[in-house]
């Protein structure tokens, strides 16, 4: 029978939640790396027992950990992230030039085919790659140096490269997103990049239609249709049908189109999930009701999913990397909250139950479907 392993990064450690395919009884392992911020944990699609974790601390900086046995044992690997060449400057919050400085790894994206290869999205925004299981890291500097970098500004959470999407149909194509620069794409394996923000409209920047400067919160795709992208922007839920060359808004009837997380059903490429958040200053669900919204039409028409979720006095947030789906026949949906709950739905969102209720604030959730 299949197994599901949920990898949870929190403000004070990592947790691993496991269940069989029924997904109603769970074992909780952790905290791993207790006391450290775990921005992200993700497994290799090519070897599910190979995990990578980003462990960081204001005191001790960045550590990268790997496991070869599904998270039972871990070992630190390389943690030197050095920008190539002269890093130059980006804009600071006040518009003045500010030197690029490495702060932390937000997202680790293992290769689809090679367990030793993994990408790291970092703050200040840059993309790194390791081809030796995390021992050494080299920047794909073409992303940072493609030309608009001096105009990028940090979002409130920092100038982070938080989203990395590998195209399963084209090993040379990678999408990334940066707060608050926007989305970018390479079609040559990371040598050259171009902004893909046409159609995004951000009223909070001087030119709402600018080439860069948009606060993209997260982007998702379905592996069977990797040219179709779905984006949760600072405000607005967006869709592109041409690999990001053009975007259109699909917020439709959402109660708020602000939010962070977005994901796609494992078997239905037109079924999306978001968690509306009230506003950029009120980072909690509208009306104190925690609702996942599902669209079965690729956006625009959304239905609230509430069964099993708190519908009063709920003021948690769901962060950008804190939603994921499994690949079982009946697709499971998972998300974690800043209140420390991890919710699971074994029926594509129709009903929900907490796997755990009282973890530290959840930063990221990833799911592995195991044989």
């Amino acid at each position: 029978m299949s197994q599901v392993r949920v990898l949870v990064g929190t403000r004070k450690g990592a947790f691993i939640l496991t269940s069989d395919g029924k997904r109603n009884k769970w074992e909780v392992s952790g905290p791993h790396f207790a006391g450290w911020e775990i921005y992200h944990v993700k497994g290799s699609p090519a070897d599910p027992n190979r995990l990578y974790a980003s462990q960081s601390s204001g005191w001790f900086g960045q550590v990268i950990q790997t496991s070869t046995d599904g998270g039972q044992n871990w070992a630190p690997v390389g943690n030197q992230f050095t920008y190539k060449g002269v890093p130059g400057t980006h804009q600071w919050y006040d518009g003045t030039p500010h030197p690029w400085e490495f702060k932390r790894v937000w997202h680790l994206e293992p290769s689809l085919t090679d367990p030793e290869t993994v990408y790291a999205g970092v703050e200040d925004a840059a993309l790194f790659r390791s081809a030796d299981g995390g021992k050494t890291w080299a920047e794909l500097e073409g992303m940072r140096q493609h030309g608009t970098g001096p105009h990028w500004q940090p979002g409130a959470g920092g100038m982070c490269l938080h989203t990395i999407l590998l195209d399963p149909s084209n090993p040379d194509r990678i999408y990334i997103a940066i707060s608050a620069a926007g989305a970018f794409r390479t079609d040559d394996g990371g040598k050259s990049w171009k902004p893909i923000n046409k159609g995004l409209v951000s009223e909070f920047i001087p030119d709402p239609n600018a080439e860069v400067g948009h606060c993209v919160h997260h982007v998702a795709l379905h592996p069977a249709r990797p040219q179709v992208l779905f984006m949760q922007k600072h405000w607005d839920v967006m869709r592109s049908d041409d690999a990001g060359d053009n975007w259109r808004e699909v917020s439709g009837n959402l109660p708020s189109d602000f939010g962070f997380a977005i994901d796609v059903h494992a078997h239905e490429p037109e079924t999306l999930y978001v968690v509306p958040i009230k506003s950029d200053s009120e980072h909690f669900p509208p009306e104190g009701k925690l609702r996942v919204y599902r669209s079965r039409t690729g956006g625009n028409e959304w239905e609230p999913l509430t069964k099993g979720l708190p519908q009063q006095d709920c003021y948690v947030n769901v962060l950008r990397d804190a939603m994921a789906v499994d690949r079982l026949d009946q697709c499971g949906i998972y998300f974690g909250t800043t209140g420390g709950q991890v919710y699971a739905s074994p029926d594509a969102g129709d009903s929900w139950a907490p796997i755990v209720r009282d973890l530290p604030a959840v930063l990221s959730v990833e799911v592995q479907t195991l044989p």
Binding site: G58, F60, V63
Partner: protein
């Protein structure tokens, strides 16, 4: 005595056993318990101790000082003999009590929230 034997003897005489106490999180990361005893070649300075520490425990690279600039991380402090040595040059000789192993070098995480 001349030749390689003399060189080895001289090198041995210039090494000291230094006591180092790491913050708890770094002891966990390095998988050590209690104080560390490090063989450090003179001169006994913060730099020479950290060089020896990182050589024996490579996973600590970058956690106490930047790997490129070698600057101390801002929320860490170096104490010894009831003194804060954090703002001294990393090449300044440490007190004799540290060099002789009577007193440990304490690497301290700042008391800060979060």
């Amino acid at each position: 005595m001349t030749g390689p034997d003399a060189a080895r003897k001289e090198a041995a005489s210039s090494r000291s056993t230094i006591r180092v106490l790491l913050p708890q999180h770094l002891r966990t990361l390095a998988q050590v318990e209690g104080e560390l005893l490090l063989e450090v070649t003179a001169p006994i300075t913060v730099r020479s101790i950290l060089d020896a520490l990182e050589a024996r425990h490579p996973m600590l690279r970058g956690t106490i000082r930047d790997q490129v600039t070698l600057q101390r991380r801002p929320f860490l402090r170096f104490f010894a003999c009831e003194e804060d040595l954090s703002h001294h040059s990393p090449d300044a000789p440490l007190p004799e009590a540290v060099a002789s192993g009577q007193e440990p070098l304490l690497i301290i995480g700042a008391i800060a929230g979060g």
